[in-house]
Amino acid sequence: MSAAIVAVEMGTSKIIVLVGEVRDDGRIAIIGVGESSPSGIRKGEVVSIGKTGACLRNALAAAEASSHISLKSVYLSIAGGHINSTINEGSTIIVDPEMGVNIADIDEVIKVAKTVSLDQNQKVIHSLSRYFTIDGQHQVINPEGMEGNKLSLEMMILYGHNGCIKNTMNVIYDKDIDVADVVFGGLCSAQAVLSKEQKDAGVVVIDIGGGTTDYAAYNDSIIAAAGSLALGGDHVTNDIAFAFNIPIARAEEIKKEYGSTIISSYDPENKISLPPQVGFTGKSFSHHALSTVINARVDEILKIVKKRLDETGVMDHIGAGVVLTGGCAKLNGIDILANDIFGVPCTFGKLNNVGGLPSAIDGPEYVTCYGLIEYAAKAESTISHPGLWGKIIRRILGQ
């Protein structure tokens, strides 16, 4: 049994800390959980360092108490509208064409393809290999030993705003805890819920959280698109609060209790009543009105994701459909709405590789954290395999 892995997701609605262990059979067991809110985070970015710090402290303390482990180093997932991706290609001349491509050539081309010119304040989060090309022969997955003169590599570079990433990490450093690695939330979700078969056939995972909507698309098991939108459940809540002139906290309750993305038929009798409370005079409105507000927002979010994916051309190769996860996946009827918009089957993400979950943490909002543990487990296992195999895995993982 290997050492425990700690995953931290600083989400807009709450901060989640999961402590996991990789069992001998390769499955992951969760041995500690901590969560806390309000997080002082909006749209995935820290807006109140004090609040976020206090919230993180609570979540870490709870995780330490339940796992009986003192937390020293954590993996951090990040998201936010500042995160974007670009495709970069690098080429190198093969040193000894007759002997074929060797490891040194591959290392060299990776180095070149990773070098991308970004704005000063932007930072690369991942460089993910897509395809090699040897002398015009495209879509080579592993070029080792192949003959040719010129080796090229296409990489997907995921990058984000340096300041935003640092702000998030600093909150953790403040607690005298080390950040082992930073991973994009969309990749974590993909890791947690997508099977190899799905990735082969082509699949999109959309994680609609409180502050951000993260997506990642795969085709032939290779990353095809990824990004993050600063849109999420918070927007749904805000729309409800504005539409019916009720406080944000009440709007959030209403959304969780009655929220549906399918516009229900109009029935004036079928009303939601909010009883009066201190500072609030009470209110009632129809289910029809509520679902109209929610539908308008969720429909728009999904359509923007589709637009982003359409721009990359990946939608033509989505054999395994769309997988939904994140807190907003709990909204009633969202799979039907997504099905209409994407025109492919839409399902809810199920965790692949985790055993023995308490039901309290078996919801779509925990998916990113589980994915992060799996991701970290894979990354750590490759360090103990320094040879070629480890190298290839590290490349696939984008390290």
Binding site: R42, K43, E45, V47, G81, L229, A230, L231, D234, H235, T237, N238, D239, A241, F242, A243, I248, Y266, F285, S286, H288, A289, T292, V293, A296, R297, D299, E300, I304, K307
Partner: protein, 389 residues
């Protein structure tokens, strides 16, 4: 309102023909634009601004009644239309519903106009019964969508419009019908851009039409000669558009505009209003205005916009909203002799209200701007979706 800030846009074949008539009526005046997928129809149209859309999709030969094609054509070429919308405070759209271009492209153009902050007034004619179920269904489906996006929709059923002139030769009947609608639109344009002695303005028009739930009917009557006032009122009352004045008797709201030359007398206006008031029921909400246009010397034209349903509550709510949007820090402009019009919606929205209420949850965070829209503003509000109580 500055007359150059009004753009009258005809979409599709039917809309284009009406624009032709308007341009024939006046050399000066509003910006006239025709948008069509059919190149031949555009060649016929006389106004100077012609916008050809969907060249790639249709090859310039119209949509053949395919609404989706009309919509896609407008989406492809919306950039050609945008400059006119940007410069307009009021967009008057003229469409014959039922066809592919008219029905499909209109929705796209309306949505763009809304984003550009135009006030929108739609004149639509609905197809003849004999044109068949498909076209009628198509028009019926499109109409509620237009009402959602527009400030006001005035619909004129072709069946009624042609009942009075149906015995004319076909070619003349169509010219006459186009002229009728053209004149009505021109009189409305005139009403809200030119001050008359008795003033009506765009706010009055909105008051009338919004209270009616966004959709109204239109009727007209014209007369000339010595007894021109009497002739005009007779034509109006006998007109099929008022169903021989029975529709007026049950009208809840009516806005009347009287167009005449320099020779229009107070007595004539008094006679017309006296006659109309005797037909309306006591609780009908009536407003009226006059326009002096020397092209109408020795002639009178009465245009009436009316509806049999009207709810003052809706209007009051709208008005109170408007007040909230504009903080009273800036003194309200005094009503001048010219017509008043609410400020462009875009300007009003960038004011206090948005930051204070709509985006509360996102205070102090960078706004999410995607594809030119501020996504933090509620989606239903940006898309003009009405939330029922």
């Amino acid at each position: 309102m500055n007359q150059h800030k009004v753009c009258i846009m005809g979409i599709g074949g039917g809309g284009g023909k009406i624009i032709d008539r308007i341009s024939a009526l006046s050399a000066d005046g509003p910006v006239l634009v025709v948008v069509n997928t059919d190149i031949r129809a555009l060649e016929d149209a006389s106004p100077s601004r012609k916008i050809k859309i969907g060249q790639i999709r249709t090859g310039g030969s119209g949509t053949g009644g395919n609404v989706e094609l009309g919509r896609l054509s407008a989406e492809d070429d919306i950039d050609k239309i945008k400059p006119y919308l940007k410069n307009a405070e009021l967009l008057i759209l003229v469409v014959a519903l039922g066809g592919g271009t008219g029905t499909g492209a209109t929705q796209v153009i309306l949505e763009q106009a809304k984003r550009d902050g135009c006030h929108i007034l739609c004149f639509v004619t609905t197809p003849f019964t004999f044109e068949g179920e498909t076209r009628i269904d198509c028009a019926k489906k499109a109409l509620p969508d237009l009402c959602k996006v527009s400030d006001a929709v005035i619909s004129i059923p072709n069946d009624l419009l042609f009942e009075s002139i149906g015995r004319n030769k076909m070619s003349q009947a169509f010219i006459k019908a186009d002229e009728t609608v053209g004149t009505a639109i021109r009189s409305i344009w005139k009403l809200i851009t030119h001050p008359g002695y008795i003033n009506l303005d765009f706010a009055d028009l909105l008051y009338t039409v919004r209270g009616a739930g966004g959709a109204c009917s239109l009727a007209y009557g014209a007369g000339k000669g010595h007894n021109k006032a009497q002739n005009a009122i007779n034509e109006l009352l006998e007109s099929c558009l008022t169903k021989q004045s029975t529709l007026l008797a049950v009208a809840k709201v009516a806005m009347i505009s009287i167009v005449g030359g320099e020779d229009l007398t107070i007595k004539e206006v008094g006679d017309i209003m006296g006659k109309l008031n005797s037909i309306f029921s006591k609780d009908t909400h009536v407003s009226m205005g006059t326009i002096i246009d020397d092209a109408w010397r020795n002639k009178i034209m009465i245009t009436i916009i009316f509806s049999d349903s009207w709810n003052s509550k809706i209007v009051v709510e709208e008005k109170s909203n408007v007040q909230k949007e504009e903080p009273s820090l800036i003194p309200l402009p005094q009503k001048t002799t010219g017509a008043k019009i609410p400020k462009k919606r875009k300007e009003a929205q960038s004011g206090l209200r948005l930051d204070a209420n709509i985006k509360k949850r996102f205070d102090g965070v960078n706004p999410t701007i995607l594809y030119g829209e501020d996504m933090d503003i509620p989606a239903f509000k940006r898309h003009g979706i009405k939330i029922p109580e």
